[in-house]
Amino acid sequence: MAFTITCPICGPRSGYEFRYGGEDKGPRPDPADMTPESWCDYAHMTDSRPGVQKEWWYHRAGCGIWFTIYRDTTTNLEVSPDSPETVA
């Protein structure tokens, strides 16, 4: 992980300091109408599409918060949230 990740509190830091928390899938869905299949989809399935994605990171060796960044998975580089590519 040669790339840097911008923590909202600590600023850009080495990627080694963070733990990946997966693609952003939004808050957990209402459990009421979940089938085992739809729950499994939510819990385990990811889009894994090449390009810019919004994802969660935890600043493990730092301030200890969860936050999201945008990252281009084809270049493995963080993309500014203001960049046009972040509009999914």
Binding site: A2, P12, W39, A43, Y58, G64, W66, T75
Partner: protein, 972 residues
């Protein structure tokens, strides 16, 4: 050998001898020598034998561009003699040669080279396949270099540093130092990496001069002094760059200096800007036997004399294609080398001053001529030269043949940084046609050869870096661009690769013993792209990392007309740019582990300490592997366990209870002030991840424990599962702030009562109660839990008071026969009670229901969106799951099966989680996860144990728990 000791450019101390062993010989070098220069000074010309053909190989370059000079140093194989500083007492030996490099018995391989065409391994030995196993041992024995003993330990100490900088400069030549100084003056913090042991690059040793008449080495020395005086420049010498990555990351390592040549330091620096000023290496000229010992590059011959005071030969022939070669010929003549002739590939375009210098010295200059063949076996004795038309030839005696076709820019770091290279007709270089943001280059790499132009281009790169960092440099940049325009531009370079009429024994890659003929064979097979030819003919895949063939291969392929590309195309460069010890990447062996506050006491009590995760813990306190005495003490009297490794957390704030309800399966809204609540955490699959106890210490303030293994990830877990909720809470990891003593056994209360005034009677402090009281004035948090199945008090004590409280209890318990117990005793004790341990009775797929803890789940709190709730609902009655059962052996005198043994019935139908001999029941008991149909009471289980030889052990599913099923002993 006598050294030239009057030169101002020397980097040796001729008065400080260093003795070392070379094979059986005892040799002497001097302080400042590398292993290679010391060997050369002692007359060693053949350093080793080549990979395939066992051809003699010698000193060709001085910066490790080929594997020619790989030797064994102090038992470490494949050490590059050119870059390893000589240390007193070193043991150096040759490789791949028997008995010696000069007399190698496998030398006949060279005569068989016709039998090993390009792609030899793929083509010749491929079919029939049955020959391959026969060929492998022979090839293994004969090919390859260096021998690594199986018990090899890399010597040396290794550490790592991560300096901070605004600018990283790669290469401390004139351009790099100028860039660093300009940037430092503008206010940047600069890190500079230089792979040689001193800065200065290509000008540092040269007595030549530009028009101002001041020798290069003198002007360069002034620059070096300025760099070393700058407080904002950190210069790493002996530090080759390994790789360049995204977001400005540069990795390098620093070689050790005598007397510790194998001490290495790994360096990572992330800078906003990067300046690459790596200069040029020489591009070899290809001709027959172009790698005979005695053939060397111009810079190698020159530096041997100027830096190490060693004359590279008595009589030299030069065959070069650049002004640098002419300069070296004139200077070596002045130092005492006889120059038989200088052949220049060029007809014109030479520096007139250098042409004059040669004619003044009566050195014949043959324009448009080239060497076509080197003669001699273990060293050069003659060279045959030919004119461009091939009509004129002459053969001259010599013991030194200085040959290089041109220069090649060292662009590896630039391409790793993302620069795209394109062929430049004027310089004959592959140069970046565009640079990524914040990456700059300057100096000889760009084709400039004039000192002032190189320095100015470096300063400009430094100013660009300052501009990257937000420092306004517009005026200074304009001025410098103007100045640079007035200086000489990039010099014209030749694209000449191979001498006419040669090829069969013209080696394009020394490391892999690949000739031009091998490249021809690859092209005959239809390969037309350098990238593919490189692989098929093994060109540039050796330890030199493509340094020798790097640009010759694409030029040659292009000139052959085989390539479909309009211009030559370079092959891809990858990390590591220089061979790097894995031990250097690994760095310091930092095995981080933790000791509880009682560690020393536990050891003093005879505790057998074991590493479990990050902790050291006492497994048992006697020789007895079953811990009989410890178990009986807890069952019949009283014992104490150091449970300090439990995770301990405080969570507080108005929303703390919501958080607990989110992650714990139980209902946390009703935790009374005086009770401890046992609960569990699941993941989204309803699988068990943790269990522990929660107490409420005051309003909106809770204290909870986790299993040892989860302590490190609990904060992360909790914050993850509340990340969408704007809840107001704080969480503090108190794992190391508190120690835990588990005081257990029928006499536990009597012992505790002796050290506290608090009422700890069953009425005042019942089972599952929580109390805070003082023990010898130390505030203690106490819970009545029953993991081991006896009356017990779990005392949470401030870590710094642990030793005191433990000792107090030990003393108080003496009359009752108190003794410490370890993890082995605890395991048997809790097994008798069928209390689960996460990771023993559960694995990744085990749900809360599977282990029989479904009763902990509070199914009516949908508002909490409890982690795992959905899956717990869906798996509650799911068929086909493994269920936790207790078992006894059919034969009570049988030994307990090993943990993890399979439960079989034609196929595997479960496994033993844990099984121990129960001293209380006087027979083995155990827990197992088995398929549901096998989980009914009375079912027979057949257990296959490793090494049982097919002899299955029979067990039977039994009532649980095995010990005190009503739990009376907990409630006394």
């Amino acid at each position: 050998m006598i050294r030239l000791n009057h030169l101002p450019t020397l980097r040796i101390n001729p008065g400080a001898p260093r003795s070392f062993a070379y094979g059986r010989r005892r040799l002497q070098g001097v302080e400042g020598d590398t292993v290679a220069t010391a060997l050369f000074a002692n007359g060693v010309r053949v350093f080793g034998r080549s990979l395939k053909y066992h051809r003699p190989r010698g000193l060709y370059s001085l910066d490790g561009e080929s594997s020619n000079t790989l030797v064994n140093v102090n038992g470490v194989p494949n050490v590059c003699a050119e870059t390893t500083p000589l240390a007193e007492g070193m043991r150096v030996s040759s490789q791949n040669a028997f008995p010696t490099p000069d007399l190698d018995l496998l030398g006949f391989m060279d005569a068989l080279s016709w039998a090993m065409p390009a792609g030899f391994y793929y083509r010749v030995l491929h079919k029939p396949a049955r020959l391959w196993p026969l060929a492998v041992p022979v090839i293994r024995k004969m090919a390859g270099v260096g021998t690594l003993p199986p018990d090899f330990q890399a010597p040396g100490r290794r550490d790592e540093i991560y300096p901070a900088a605004d600018l990283c400069v790669i290469g401390a030549g004139v351009a790099g130092m100028s860039a660093a100084l300009a940037a430092a003056e503008a206010g940047l913090r600069v890190v500079v990496f230089e792979s040689r042991p001193w800065p200065g690059g290509a000008f540092e040793y040269r007595p030549g001069a530009a028009r101002d008449g001041v020798p290069y080495f003198q002007k360069t020395a002034e620059l070096i002094a300025a760099v070393q005086a700058s407080p904002h420049i950190r210069l790493f010498l002996n530090a080759p760059v390994i790789g360049v990555y995204s977001n400005g990351l540069v990795t390098a390592f620093q070689r050790g200096r005598p007397p510790h040549p194998f001490d290495e330091r790994y360096i990572e620096v992330r800078a906003a800007s990067l300046v690459v000023t790596t200069g040029c290496i020489e591009r070899p000229l290809l001709f027959d036997h172009n790698e005979r010992p005695g053939v060397m590059q111009a810079g190698c011959a020159h530096r041997l004399a100027r830096t190490w005071g060693i004359l590279p030969g008595h009589t030299a022939v030069f065959s070069v294609g650049h002004d640098l070669g002419l300069e070296v010929a004139a200077d070596l003549f002045d130092l005492g080398v006889e120059i038989a002739a200088v052949a220049d590939l060029r007809q014109d375009g030479m520096d007139p001053a250098l042409v004059d210098a040669l004619s003044q010295r009566r050195i014949p200059l043959l324009r448009g001529w080239s060497v076509t063949k080197a003669h001699g076996r273990n060293r050069v004795t003659k060279a045959t030269l030919a004119g461009a038309n091939g009509r004129f030839r002459k053969t001259l005696d010599c013991d030194l043949l200085v040959a290089s076709a041109g220069l090649t820019p060292v662009t590896g770091p630039l391409t790793l940084a993302g620069a795209r290279l394109a062929f430049d007709e004027h310089t004959g270089f592959f140069l970046p046609d565009s640079l990524p943001p914040r990456v700059h280059t300057a100096g000889r790499l760009t084709g400039r050869q004039n000192w002032h132009a190189v320095a100015a281009s470096g300063r400009l790169a430094g100013l660009y870096a300052a501009r990257d960092n937000g420092i306004d440099q517009a005026a200074a940049i304009d001025e410098l661009v103007h100045e640079l325009g007035a200086r000489p531009g990039p010099a014209r370079g030749t694209q000449f690769v191979i001498a006419p009429g040669s090829g069969k024994k013209a080696f394009i890659c020394f490391d892999e013993d690949a000739t031009v003929k091998n490249v021809d064979q690859a092209m005959d097979k239809g390969f037309d792209v350098p990238e593919l030819i490189k692989r098929f003919a093994s060109v540039g895949t050796g330890p030199g990392q493509g340094g020798i063939p790097g640009h010759n291969l694409p030029l040659y392929v292009h000139q052959s007309g085989a390539s479909p590309d309009a211009h030559p195309r370079p092959t891809t460069v990858r990390v590591p740019l220089v061979p790097t010890f894995l031990a250097t990447y690994a760095g310091t062996r930092l095995d981080m582990s933790k000791r509880t506050p009682l560690h020393a006491l536990q050891e003093a009590d005879g505790g057998r300490m074991e590493r479990l995760g990050v902790w050291h813990r006492a497994r048992r306190f006697s020789e007895d592997g079953r811990s009989r005495e410890e178990i009986l003490a807890v069952r019949t009297a009283v014992g104490m366990l150091d449970a300090s490794t439990l995770g301990k957390f405080r969570i507080f704030g108005p929303d703390a209870v919501k958080v607990l309800d989110r992650v714990y399966v139980g209902d946390m809204t009703r935790v009374p002030r005086t009770r401890a609540k046992y609960s569990a955490m699941c993941n989204e699959d309803g699988c068990l991840t943790d269990d522990g106890v929660i107490v409420r210490t005051s309003d909106n303030d809770y204290y909870f424990t986790t299993s040892t293994g989860r302590a490190g990830v609990t904060v992360e877990w909790i914050r993850y599962h509340t990340r969408f909720d704007d809840w107001d809470f704080g969480i503090v990891n108190l794992t190391d702030a508190y120690g835990v003593i588990n005081l257990a056994g029928p006499e536990a209360r009597a012992v505790l009562q002796r050290v506290t005034d608090a009422d700890v009677s069953n009425e005042a402090f019942p089972y599952m109660g929580y109390r805070e009281f003082a023990v010898d004035e130390i505030p203690v948090r106490a819970m009545r839990l029953g993991f081991v199945g006896e009356l017990s008090f779990e005392l949470h004590v401030p870590a710094s008071w642990m030793v005191h409280i433990w000792s107090l209890l030990m003393k108080a318990g003496k009359d009752f026969g108190i003794r410490p117990f370890g993890l082995e005793a605890q395991n048997t004790l809790r097994l008798e009670k069928c209390h689960v341990i996460i990771g023993s009775e559960s694995e990744q797929r085990t749900t809360l229901h599977d282990v029989g803890l479904g009763f902990l789940w509070h199914r009516d709190k949908p508002w909490a969106k409890t982690v795992g709730d959905v899956a717990l609902r869906q798996t509650e009655h799911q068929p086909g799951r493994l269920k936790l059962v207790g078992f006894r052996m059919a034969d009570p005198s049988a030994a307990p099966p090993k943990d993890g043994s399979a439960i079989v019935d034609r196929r595997i139908r479960g496994y033993v989680c844990a099984s121990r001999y129960s001293f209380t029941l006087k027979e083995p008991v155990g827990l197992a996860l088995v398929e549901e149909p096998l989980s009914a009471k009375g079912s027979s289980l057949d257990i296959y144990e490793n090494g049982c030889g097919g002899q299955l052990a029979r067990a039977e599913v039994s009532e649980t728990p095995f010990y005190d099923p009503e739990g009376r002993r907990l409630r006394v």
